[in-house]
């Protein structure tokens, strides 16, 4: 008995060491990124590990001025429009699929599920061509429209499964009071699905904020670039000015970290209700 408890005490200590090491492997690089953004260029080379002797705010300001500010605005703009549109459009589709009975219902559902299976990589070449033909290549719309389209299948699916389980008494009562289905959608369904809509919005926001490939290919002009691609061009223009780059990286992760910490519960619910890997 004594022997097993010593054994398990050793095992527990080892596990603690393992997990703490793993946690350090995550926190340390991120902390290093934030702190190095406060260093001077020469200090980064000479004192890679240490805290800065003098905290330089200038790098953050420089990063913001040489482009991160612009990219940040673009990301906020593209993300908020994409989130709003994809959630409203998907909620409408989910509402029809969960409440109405009509011919072709199965086919629509199949199209939604099929959309989950198609990866954006496969459409890259032809979407590039299509966006050029539609004259929206290299505009905000070149990002917003594909983002919305590719978020619809998952978001519809998510909201639909929530609506199916939603009790219908309120809708019935509203109908008796003379409300039509349009009114029911805006005044009852949307407010009642607030939890799932916030989950869907967060997941879409995270995806769009971090999206890389479309942003790389569908935008040419620096003034429309979002943060992930903006940081890439920053790297080439700054060349070895790493402290400014690190400051830029830090600025770009802050919104997601804040969103995640504030809405952790919604995040987790969404991530576990479907296979949505970044």
């Amino acid at each position: 008995m004594n022997k097993t408890s010593t054994m398990s005490r050793i095992a527990r200590s080892l596990i603690f060491i393992w997990f703490i090491t793993y946690a350090i492997c995550i926190i340390y690089p991120l902390l290093w990124m934030v702190i190095s953004g406060f260093k001077t260029k020469s200090e980064l080379f000479l004192n890679t590990w240490a805290l800065p002797q003098e905290w330089v705010w200038g790098n953050y300001k420089t990063a913001w001025d040489v482009g991160v500010g612009r990219y940040f605005f673009n990301s906020v703009f593209v993300t908020s429009i994409s989130v709003a549109l994809s959630v409203i459009i998907s909620a409408g589709c989910a509402f029809a699929l969960s409440r109405f009975r009509f011919k072709g219902e199965k086919i629509i559902l199949l199209i939604v599920i099929g959309g989950l299976m198609l990866s954006p990589q496969v459409s890259l070449i032809s979407l590039y061509k299509l966006l050029q033909k539609l004259n929206i290549y290299n505009t905000y719309l070149a990002l917003i429209i594909p983002y919305v389209a590719f978020r619809i299948p998952f978001t519809t699916f998510l909201i639909r499964s929530y609506l199916i389980d939603l009790p219908r008494e309120v809708e019935d009562a509203a109908y008796i009071d003379g409300c039509n289905s349009w009114g029911v959608f805006w005044q009852i369904i949307l407010p009642m699905s607030k939890p799932i809509i916030s989950t869907a919005s967060l997941l879409t926001a995270m995806q769009v904020w971090n999206e890389f490939m479309f942003a790389l290919v569908f935008i040419e002009d620096s003034k429309y670039k979002t943060i992930p691609i903006g940081l890439m061009s920053l790297r080439s223009t700054l060349s070895t000015d790493w402290t400014v780059l690190l400051a830029g990286l830090t600025i770009s992760v802050i919104p997601m970290i804040i969103l995640f910490i504030v809405f952790q519960k919604q995040f987790v619910r969404g991530l576990t209700s479907g296979s949505v890997k970044g």
Binding site: T48, C93, I108, S123
Partner: protein
Amino acid sequence: MGLYHNKKIAFLFIFPALLLMLVFIYYPIFQNFIYSMFRWSAFSSEKIFIGIDNYLRLFKDPVFYIALKNNLLYASFSIFFQVGLGLIIAAILEEKFLRKYQPFFRTVFFIPAIISITVAGLLWQLIYNPNIGIINEGLRAIGLDNLAHPWLADGKTAIFSVIVMSQWQYTGYIVLLFIVGIHKIPQELYESAMIDGANSIQKFWTITVPQVKEMIIVSVTITIIGGFKVFDEVYVMTGGGPGRSTEVLSSFMYRSGFRNDEMGYAAAIATIIFVITFLLTLLELKISHKKDEV
């Protein structure tokens, strides 16, 4: 109920979603097959029909096999670290002695998954940097100078360096999925095993693993699919180089289309990605469907 009788209104609710999906998801896939049978470039309107020549050329292209190999490496490492290790970490976090600390660990482990690949990739580029990178500095600090290495600049280590970054980023995500899965296991199972005197390792193999079996299979397929879709990490960290040593299918496609301006060839590569990921997704859906029936 009268409220939901009007089919025209139903269609109005569906129409925007349907239109966007058909035009921007389905049509491009179909169009891609057609594009793959032509020789064409982005900046000229001339298209020459060449049938399956792009595919024949692809199957003879050594870079194609490098890319396939790298995708497979990506998938296998991710299965081992994310699914295998992820499950073990999740199970340990559910042990009583760690419950108190679980929120801390699970949040920290998850954080890399919410930062963009550009940030993670550029950060790791500096971590791997031969001069200022933490890894080489660390190796020198503990006296292992001869292990210090230009990790991303050497064709032998580059792909593994990228893969390691990816594990750093996504393992915590799978851990979280498994924690939720383990929560759903009826507590009585564990209690009766305790009465029978089972230890933690026995409980893991006889209860946890069988109970989350479907989830394991689904995560394995998602991870394999992810391994075949990978693009961002490679593009950010190595751009497919040095040489072509870290090329994966997507970066190969990108380079063919947007660097070498061989759009038809790139479309053929896209078709291959489509076939692989589509078949794997069908498999996944079949498995998760089975789960729903049980």
